[in-house]
């Protein structure tokens, strides 16, 4: 039986005999975000996993801070920080197997790094020396995607292709609350459900699309409620609770891997920093709101759980911080070196073989650069 045949053909039936195609009840999200930390569910969580998550959260926070500092030093063109959203970033990275794929949006550098992408290469786009700085196939991380929601159909297509090839691969795609308004979000989720593709969609609902609050973005009960309209389960989770995000994603990944099809997960979280270093968040939100979220900090939540349960002590915390500092120091050093630039790259990868036209243009640029190098009078222009 082919993948396509598995769904069987719907034959329209006149209304007295009409049947809903699936039962909607199990698809609806719970009324409140699922939480683990500070609840009874925490007892069941794997201590080893919690410690790994913790170390990565600390590292992630430090990464965001370092990258933001680099923008001030002119070493990065721009940085959209995920401070406050580290639980989503880290859980998304850790929940996947090596053979799985991650589809990050432009804000998700940290998720890519947590999955293994070199921290400097992950910043290439934002530093400006090239677009994608890493080989997507090395860690199975798609290029950081700037046009919002356009990465979602890619994730669906890749997951579908893997399934067609008989590979046991799941794709996890990240998108923001704002991104859910795009047509590509809709089309991707619909294709995923119709094809029963092994893909998990994680919406990081951080309350804002730049300056636009969620109420101007949607009137839905929650973003997770969109799932039922595609015939896939919707799950709502506390996005600052790393254990909860990991558990919900792990369930969704396992479900997808077992052939159960896609899941839409909405993680309720908050962007503590401005949209990017270039943004002035005070224009559209009050400090009090930010403070309320600081009290629900993902690192603090997990740290409290771990220390309360004796799974983490001062030494452990110091070790995590030291590891993060080492990463930051290395990042700083390497980012302070000017990247090697080769203008020939401009023409080398437009096509498999450069066209005559591009070869001519490359020769023109080479001649110009040689002239520039030779005579000082050209340099100023």
């Amino acid at each position: 039986m082919t993948v396509m045949e598995q769904r069987g053909a719907y034959r329209p039936t006149p209304p007295p005999a009409w049947q809903p195609r699936t039962d909607p009840a199990p698809l609806l999200p719970d009324a409140r975000p699922y939480r683990v930390l500070g609840t009874e569910a925490a007892a069941k969580a794997d201590p080893e996993l919690l410690r790994r998550l913790y170390a990565q959260l600390v590292r992630g926070r430090r990464y965001n801070a370092q990258a933001t500092a680099l923008t001030k030093q002119g070493r990065l063109a721009v940085y959209p920080s995920s401070t406050g959203q580290e639980a989503c970033q880290v859980a998304a990275a850790l929940v996947l197997e090596q053979r799985d794929w991650l589809f990050p949006s432009y804000r998700d550098t940290l998720a890519a790094v947590a999955r293994g992408v070199d921290p400097v290469q992950a910043l290439t786009l934002l530093r400006g020396d090239w677009h994608t700085g890493y080989d997507p196939y090395e860690h199975r991380v798609a290029p950081l995607c700037t046009p919002l929601a356009t990465q979602l159909p890619h994730a669906v297509g890749l997951a579908h292709a893997a399934r067609l090839k008989g590979d046991d691969v799941v794709a996890l795609a990240l998108v923001g609350d704002g991104g859910t308004s795009e047509g590509d979000f809709h089309e991707a989720l619909n294709f995923a459900a119709v094809w029963q593709a092994p893909v998990v969609f994680l919406v990081q609902n951080n309350g804002f699309a730049i300056s636009v609050p969620l109420a101007k973005q949607t009137a839905a009960p929650s973003l997770a409620h969109k799932a039922v309209g595609y015939g896939m389960p919707g799950r709502l989770v506390d996005g600052n609770d790393a254990a909860a995000v990991h558990e919900v994603l792990a369930d969704a990944v396992a479900h997808a891997r077992a052939g159960g099809g896609p899941t839409l997960v909405e993680a309720v979280t908050y962007r503590l920093d401005a949209h990017t270093n270039a943004d002035d968040a005070t224009r559209y939100r009050a400090d009090a709101e930010v403070e309320a979220w600081r009290d629900h900090d993902p690192i603090v939540l997990l740290e409290r759980e771990l220390t309360d349960r004796g799974l983490l002590d001062e030494d452990g915390m110091r070790a995590a911080r030291e590891d993060a500092e080492a990463m930051a120091a290395d990042l700083r050093t390497r980012m302070n070196q000017d990247p090697a630039l080769d203008p020939r790259d401009l023409f080398a990868h437009v096509y498999a073989e450069p066209t005559t036209q591009l070869t001519e243009q490359q020769a023109q640029l080479r001649a110009e650069l040689e002239a520039e190098a030779a005579g000082p009078e050209g340099a100023g222009r």
Partner: protein, 334 residues
């Protein structure tokens, strides 16, 4: 040497055959789009493929062009070679962002690590009495997008050869199928399809000495007809079929125009901002001192595509081409 019996085939049949042969030769080739499965496509170009290769290889997708092309991107990322059908020219527009921002750029974005061997088949152009949105010539949009190849056949043999070449290409190819030539016939041996050079070579369809008609796709037959009619006026017109708009074969075109000293670009697409501007400009850059007259353009008017009953006024016809040839300042030169 055996004699092969040549059978007449339509361009649509040649395209079907190309898809079939490509799918048979390479299991990574997947056909997808609206109605391409059970129905075989609204122009029947995918007829029989779902039956022969199964629904997973020839797939009826949900009705969403951005989704079709966007998922094809993901499939290509995983090593497949998707061949996407857009049902009509104007219905490719919803997929524009995926095409321009991803399909055209992924290889470049990743310094060659992630090529996207996707073929986007787009039936294009008018002359078939299509109602609104069914007759656009959208090639200017694709030509202006670096990273795409843009190819269009004008003969039955090229339909086969170029589509095979497009599918075999490691780069994305927008494959423009002239709707009104779908039913054009030619003797062509599908058992031994003519070998076609790789994408990017124009061809002289009719040699001539007086002036060059530069054209492609749906306008080739019109130009050949015009060249015949021009004999009565004493003009011996050369006709160049570009076949590939990107890459552009400057060599063939320049050689022809340098020989004849006069040129007219002919296409259905709107004149203003259309392919003809680029072609005329680059021919002039390369042939200026050989030209007896400016390169002229015969194109669709600068209007939205007209309703069926008025389309004949819009489409470049033999008279309009001959008028342009007549304006090539014959008093001044040969």
């Amino acid at each position: 040497m055996t004699t092969v019996a040549l059978k007449p085939a339509t361009m649509a049949q040649a395209l079907t055959r190309a898809l079939r042969d490509a799918m048979a030769a390479d299991a990574s080739v997947h056909v997808m789009g609206e109605d391409v499965g059970t129905l075989g496509g609204v122009f029947r170009v995918t007829d029989g493929l779902a039956k022969e290769f199964g629904d997973d290889r020839c797939t009826d997708t949900p009705l969403a062009e951005a989704g079709i092309l966007g998922t094809a991107v993901g499939m290509a990322m995983y090593g497949l070679r998707p061949v996407v059908e857009m049902q009509f020219d104007a219905f490719a527009y919803p997929a524009f962002e995926q095409l321009v921002s991803h399909v055209a750029r992924m290889r470049n974005r990743t310094r060659g690590a992630m090529p996207l061997p996707i073929t986007v088949r787009v039936p294009y152009g008018g002359g078939i009495g299509g109602v609104e949105h069914h007759s656009d010539s959208s090639e200017a949009y694709y030509m202006a997008t670096p990273g795409l190849h843009v190819v269009t056949p004008a003969t039955v043999a090229d339909a086969y050869g170029l589509l095979r070449a497009a599918i075999a290409s490691d780069d994305p190819v927008v494959f423009l199928e002239p709707k009104r030539l779908y039913w054009s016939k030619d003797t062509w041996n599908p058992e031994e399809p003519e070998a076609v050079e790789p994408i990017g070579r124009a061809v002289v369809r009719r040699p001539g000495r007086s002036a060059t008609l530069i054209t492609y796709g749906p306008s080739l037959p019109v130009c050949l007809e015009a060249a015949e009619a021009a004999r009565a006026e004493g003009w011996d017109l050369e006709v160049v079929d570009l076949r590939s708009l990107v890459p552009f074969d400057d060599e063939t075109v320049t050689a022809s125009v340098r020989r004849t000293g006069r040129a007219v670009v002919v296409h259905e697409s709107n004149g203003f901002g259309g392919p003809g501007g680029e072609i005329a400009a680059r021919v002039t850059e390369r042939c200026f001192h050989y030209l007896e007259a400016p390169v002229l353009r015969v194109a669709g008017f600068d209007i939205p595509y007209p309703p069926p009953m008025l389309e004949r006024h819009h489409l470049p016809g033999v008279d309009r081409i001959l008028d342009a040839v007549g304006r090539l300042q014959w008093q001044a030169g040969s």
